[in-house]
Each structure stands twice: as C-alpha cells, then as structure tokens.
Symmetry: C2
Subunit: 126 residues, 2 copies
Amino acid sequence: MSSAILLIAHGSRRAAANEDLLRLSKMVRERIPVEDVPIIEIAYLELAAPSIPEGLQTCVARGATSIRMLPYFLSAGAHVTRDLREFQTQFEEIHSQIPCIICPPIGLHPTIVDVLLTRMEQNLDD
Amino acid sequence: MSSAILLIAHGSRRAAANEDLLRLSKMVRERIPVEDVPIIEIAYLELAAPSIPEGLQTCVARGATSIRMLPYFLSAGAHVTRDLREFQTQFEEIHSQIPCIICPPIGLHPTIVDVLLTRMEQNLDD
C-alpha cells in the first residue's frame, strides 16, 4: 500500500506565494514517516502549475494506491468545494481502483487560535 | 490603557463564510483575559461589513488606546499588505495618539502543520 497526500493551495500569479506550498510540503514531510505516507505531492487549484489533475497523475505515476487531497485553505467555500469534487470525480472515472478522498480545509480549528495568539505579539514590520 | 484587537478577514459574499470571523472572535475572546485586551472587534477587507475603517472606529468609540490589526489570512500578498497599510495610514492621520500596528498573517507557522495532520485523518464528507 502506497498512500499519497496531495497538498492543494489556491495558486497565485506571484511565485513567492506559490513557494509557500513547497515549503509546507517539506514541513509536512518532516512530520509524517515515509513508511506511513511515502508520497507527498503539491498542486494548485488555479493560476499555477502543477494543476490538481497533474498532481494526482504524479501520485499515480509514483505508485499511489490511495490519495488524500489535503486543502491548504482556511475555509472551502462553495466554489472551492465544487472544483475539488469535480477533480475527484474525473480522477475516479479513470482510476476507479485508487480511492481518492478530499480532507477538510484548515477551518476554525482551535489550534489556529494558538497561532493567532503568537502573531498578535508580532509586528509585520519587525 | 485599553488595548484592542481588530480581527480582519478577507470578506465574502456568502454570509456563512463571514460568520467564521465572528466565531473566531469568540474563540479568541475565550483565550485572552479581558484585563489584557478589553476590546476585540472584527472587520472585513472587502465584500462585507464592517469595513476596516468602521472596525477601527468602533475600537476608538470603545476607548481603545492602542490597536492591533490581526489578519486572519494564511498569507498576506502585496495587495492585502498594501490595503492594510493604507487603512493604517489613514487611521494614524486622524488618531495620531493611538498606536495602530499590523500583525503578521498566520503564515507557515509550524502549528499549521499540526492542524493539517489532524485534517488528513478526516474526510470532507464525514
């Protein structure tokens, strides 16, 4: 069994904003043993490459037997949720033997408040 | 001294998305003693009310002697940062005696990875 995580961000025209997802994927990789999740890939909903179908395809090419789409969004509005479900459906039509689920966005997790409490002691200009 | 936090989200046309900020402000309120920060208000960058100038004004009306603008954004791109700085400058021109700082956005805080590790065990459809 080779489970895969596809980390998904919105995507931006600014390269610096897109690089956050690469950095995040390294941070996630450091926290999840390769034995548990051998494959971690990234994809952008729009405006940047790789696209979600490309990211899913890379997971398959690397031997994924199951894929979790993990949205790096504070919330997933109707538009984002619909788009993710469309990519999921397209994928399942071609790869019906590979389960592909969508995980919830970050949302109002209590831990987010911990981060905000840290940020409130900082100044954007420092 | 009455310090204030102005929690800022992007704002959406969907009421449900905007309600997240209200829920977040309650979660923050539960974590910060009233003695430390008596005033916690919310504002939206666009598309919803109250606006940032309105939120800042409410802080002043409630007696704020210092204000921290706390962005509830995963990242603050050039557009968001510029807008926040414009509101800050406008505010300081009128209320030069009330320090108003902009805190950093949530960003790639290590704790965000903790939240993602929780979310990856969940299914959006459960």
